[in-house]
Symmetry: C2
Subunit: 254 residues, 2 copies
């Protein structure tokens, strides 16, 4: 009977190595086998004897099951997400695989390491847009029906929360961001600041500042994180520098 | 006229050094002066010649202004938050100080470094409770009226979002967590999993699993991060191990 291994789910942040925590770096260095989306794995330095299982973006459940099987066979396994593994990433898939898989997987040593998720990196590039209450919504309708997304956009607008929107371009039919902006324009002031942060921390990083009223799906791809301001979100113009966007810490009665 | 310095707002994560990103560690090592809440500063290794300005938890604006003045005087300044500086922390205070301060502060070199915020660390200890859409709300009514907090708890429940609740014990009068649970019990299934994560990453870390129906303010202090599940949040029992909590990635129509 094989000695039981360990599976750790990690996130390598949105881009540069200097956003990878030392705890995650240590997990990656020790692992016998890495499982992850190809482009994430290819960013990481290699180690002799370490096996890499690169897979496609849409194969999360298969990847989770293969990684759990490797841990059950006694291997030290790391499952690699971008960003933080717990936010729209591999941690939930691994949990689901455990719940629906063989009973023995519940006895495995499984751990999760926090990381820098895309919204925190995007926010850091412009100031503090997430400095007060906010909501975090994926615009992908691969995993949930569009009417539910629309309902959440409306209710979080009614609650006057800042929004961090993930996966704006993976809507199966049509543009998620375009449809989301149409909904948001009907329920937020058109003047609230919007930040479109693409490929944050990568060489081709691009930050665009807009007002909600001027937003549509143009220029948005799956590497874009969108932050939509609430009524307390402010833009500070700075001569010779890009603006700052932040949400006031004080809030008034509804 | 003094050469202009630089101010960087950083977050040192919820606890251990191995959750501090290399980018933040480099900023801290280079800084001439550190400004922050005393307990955060005392966690950091010292450097000869580096000046530390420790201040109280409630002096964010004063601290921000002093740090900006030091940067204006040509110093390399780091403002130190716990967690991520952009989530209920110093980044918003620094932005507010810039907007309301002397015009010259808008010309300063100001940067923000992302970090591991408490909810990501708490989530990593139990699985993937934030694996689907969620909202992030501070229960402190120092900065906003309680009726607004209550309204946000209700609307985000109506939207069936997972909740990450910060500052559960700083309500000026009475227990924020106790009042919040009373609201949530009236608008969420009483069976949804709740995680009370205290002092995550510290020697006295404590994780408690409950159902919403059994929750009140007992045992909750200002170092507790509360995660309240949505209808899609599940708890997996594991023999000989603590349970996993995760939110299903798939969601059904409202």
């Amino acid at each position: 009977m094989p000695v039981s291994g360990k599976l750790t789910v990690v996130g390598v942040g949105p881009g540069p190595e200097d956003w990878i925590t030392p705890a995650t770096a240590a997990t990656l260095a020790e692992a016998d086998e890495l499982f992850g989306y190809g482009p994430y794995l290819s960013r990481l330095p290699g180690r002799l004897g370490q096996i890499r299982h690169a897979s496609d973006n849409r194969e999360e459940m298969l990847r989770a099951r293969q990684a759990l099987a490797a841990a059950q066979a006694g291997r030290l396994v790391a499952v690699v997400s971008g960003g933080d593994p717990g936010v729209f990433a591999m941690a939930a898939a691994v949990c689901e695989a455990i719940e629906t898989g063989p009973e023995a997987w519940r006895a495995l040593d499984v751990a999760f390491e926090p990381g820098v998720t895309a919204m925190l990196a995007a926010a850091s590039r412009v100031g503090a847009p997430l400095g007060a209450d906010f909501a975090v919504i994926s615009l992908s309708d691969n995993l949930k029906p569009w009417p539910l997304i629309e309902r959440r956009l409306k209710l979080t607008s009614e609650a006057d929360l800042v929004l961090a929107l993930y996966n704006p371009a993976s809507r199966a039919r049509g543009q998620g961001a375009d449809a989301a902006f149409a909904v948001l324009k009907s329920c937020r002031p058109l003047s609230v600041p919007v930040v479109l942060a693409s490929a944050v921390g990568r060489p081709d990083e691009r930050i665009v500042f807009k007002q909600l009223g001027d937003c549509d799906g143009a220029g948005i791809d799956m590497r874009t994180l969108i932050i939509v301001g609430a009524s307390a979100t402010r833009l500070i113009e700075r001569p010779g520098r890009s603006p700052l966007v932040y949400t006031e810490r004080f809030a008034r009665s509804p």
